[in-house]
């Protein structure tokens, strides 16, 4: 299989092209810009089109229009720009339109900084815009996953008729790694028999989520609730690393998951039974991963690049049966494996000689 050296952001872009994405609407913002740049260069060669919108709001709404025709479409941004897309995302979710969105999370709030951050976790996983909806959120931890998850994102979006978000950070976006350019997986997807593409030979269609009658609106809400509950059951994904027999556990996604793997190996070399659960889907949060261990694990360190956001979901998943502590860096700074391992040893009074 073809192997190339690509930046994480470029891997997302290449995967989009190979997933049959024909349209990209975006607005440049660091540290996501390589995506729009790579696509500007390469999507036209694949018969597609990149259109730079006048702003983030235009870009997400252009995605809305393109998705309504049944086309595969994507946009990408970074935190401040992602904030501007929230109105559009709420509308995409309500109108059940499949769009793939990328947020290369930078430090915030406000204009913030350009360094790697996970400070958008709440905004990305709890809806973000107005109303009751969720995005499926996929969190890669290396360039190959940026590629693979992007392909998966397009399929999930089409399968559920819903927007799907790839959430990464500038560290993952800028880092070059060798990537296998896998073929698009063969999946059976539902026909887009709802697309508004001209009513030749069929009844007219409309795509709209607006209802001025409360009874009708409640009907819509129940339908969305059911759909999201189904996704929550069916689509939880996570990676386990030495988690089977772990007495102490790291939980971290993306860059933090990657760093925690090194910390686990260090701990194991010391004879400590330490493992990792790396959520791949941040929504739905992989609570199923915690079911087998929630009565046996002695302590959890939640590693995050924010002031503590995912930790709330970890506590819910573990039903507070074990202590969960936060180990974090912020503002674009990354923790080292020693930093997070120390946090584990200190917080849970683990003596190395004990040989846990």
């Amino acid at each position: 299989m073809e192997k190339v050296l690509l930046k994480g952001n470029e891997a997302i872009a290449e995967a989009a092209i190979r997933s049959g994405c024909k349209l990209f609407f975006g607005y440049p913002i660091t540290p996501s810009t390589e995506i729009v740049e790579y696509l500007s260069k390469n999507l036209p060669k694949a018969g597609g089109l990149v259109l730079q919108g006048e702003d983030e709001i235009a870009s997400i709404n252009m995605c809305h229009g393109a998705a309504a025709t049944g086309a595969r479409v994507m946009t990408a941004s970074s935190s401040p720009g992602y904030s501007l897309k929230q109105e559009g995302l709420s509308n995409l979710a309500a109108n059940e339109l499949p769009v793939v969105i990328v947020n290369i999370n930078r430090a915030g709030p406000g204009l913030g900084g350009l360094g790697p951050s996970q400070a958008d976790y709440f905004q990305c996983t709890k809806g973000g815009g107005h109303g009751d909806y969720r995005l499926i959120v996929l969190a890669p931890s290396k360039a190959q996953e940026m590629y693979d998850y992007t392909m998966n994102a397009f399929d999930l979006a089409d399968k559920y008729r819903t927007p799907v978000l790839i959430l990464a950070d500038g560290f993952l976006g800028q880092m070059m790694e060798p990537i296998e350019l896998k073929e698009r997986p063969a999946v059976e997807l539902p026909a887009k028999d709802w697309a508004t593409n001209g009513c030749k030979g069929r009844a007219k269609r409309k795509i709209c989520s607006y209802a001025l009658t409360n009874e009708v609106m409640e009907g819509y809400c129940l339908q969305w609730e059911k759909k999201f509950a189904g996704i929550q059951q069916a689509e939880q994904q996570w990676e386990e690393f030495y988690a089977d027999d772990a007495e102490y556990l790291f939980v971290g996604y993306g860059t933090c998951g990657r760093i925690a793997k090194d910390a686990v190996l260090k701990a194991r070399a010391m004879g400590l039974k330490v493992g990792l659960i790396r959520p791949i889907t941040l929504w739905p949060f992989p609570e199923k991963a915690f079911a087998p261990i929630k009565n046996t694990v002695k302590g959890i360190v939640c590693v995050e690049l924010n002031a503590g956001q995912m930790i709330e979901d970890v506590k819910l998943a573990i039903e507070c049966k074990a202590p969960v502590v936060l180990c974090n860096r912020q503002g674009g700074m990354l923790p080292s494996e020693n930093y997070i391992l120390d946090a584990m040893l200190k917080n849970f009074n683990i003596a190395i000689s004990e040989g846990v």
């Binding site: 609407f25 709404n61 559009g88 508004t196 593409n197 001209g198 709209c208």
Partner: protein, 250 residues
């Protein structure tokens, strides 16, 4: 007996639920007739953002997409770029296109986006109950300008078509009215041309239609027509504001 007048095929049989005397219905009828006459009903996708025009989705026989407030032209851009051979139009109020959607209004024109926009200008936000819009006239009383629009505080009304006409990508810009049978005929001509411009792929076309809002103006339907003539027409430049060379031949 020969049938001389009937419902246009461009409209569905869903009854309009616009207020009595509101000229939205006439504008819909004109668009419906144009869709039928140009035989493009099955090739057209309409976009309606929020406002009284937001009800349009049910009234036209073509496919329709609802959009967030002000975002109609961005949504229409996405549709047109995905389906360049189809006809895409927006129908949006002045409170939508000239306020929250201004950025998109400017940039579809700047890009020469091959879509058609119909702007329904009734000088206020109708659906939300008659608030001031950027198009509200000087001294006009609305619920958010209860002492009359004070231009010293909020500026003078925007004549959006004039601005759009300055952009190269906008090849046809017209402002019409549906207050008299004669003006209705002229309005239809302009709307038809705006769709033909798109059929020929010439660029962006905008038609602003002055329309009444008897409900929020607090006037009878007949007085509303008079008010429109006496107050709106002198403020907004009427007629064909821009006919680019390539459009003249149409």
């Amino acid at each position: 007996m020969e049938k001389v007048f009937g419902r246009t095929k461009g409209l569905t049989d869903v009854p309009f639920h616009y207020c009595p005397g509101c000229t939205h219905g006439i504008i819909h009828r004109l668009i419906g007739e144009v869709l039928e006459e140009l035989d493009i009903i099955e090739d057209t996708i309409g976009v309606a953002p929020v406002g009284c025009t937001g009800f349009s989705l049910d009234f036209f026989s073509c496919d329709f997409v609802g959009a967030a407030h002000g975002r109609g032209q961005a949504v229409a851009t996405g549709i047109k770029r995905a389906l360049p051979d189809k006809i895409v139009f927006t129908i949006q109020g002045d409170g939508d296109i000239a306020a929250i959607g201004t950025a998109h209004a400017i940039h579809v024109a700047a890009r020469g986006e091959k879509i058609t926009s119909i702007m329904v200008n009734n000088a206020l936000f109708g659906m939300t109950g008659g608030q001031m819009a950027p198009t509200t006239l000087a001294g006009q009383v609305t619920t958010t300008s209860p002492y009359g629009r004070d231009c010293a505080v909020v500026g003078t009304p925007i004549d959006l078509p004039k601005t759009i006409a300055t952009l190269n990508g906008a090849v046809y810009v017209a402002a019409v009215s549906v207050d008299t049978p004669k003006n209705i005929m002229q309005a239809k001509k302009a709307i038809k041309k705006a769709f033909q411009v798109q059929q020929k792929g010439l660029g962006y076309a905008l038609v602003s239609v002055l329309s009444t809002c008897p409900t929020n103006w607090g006037l009878s339907p007949v007085d509303s027509l008079k008010w429109l003539r006496e107050n709106m027409m002198p403020v907004y430049q009427m007629g064909e504001l821009k006919v680019a060379k390539e459009v003249e031949a149409l």
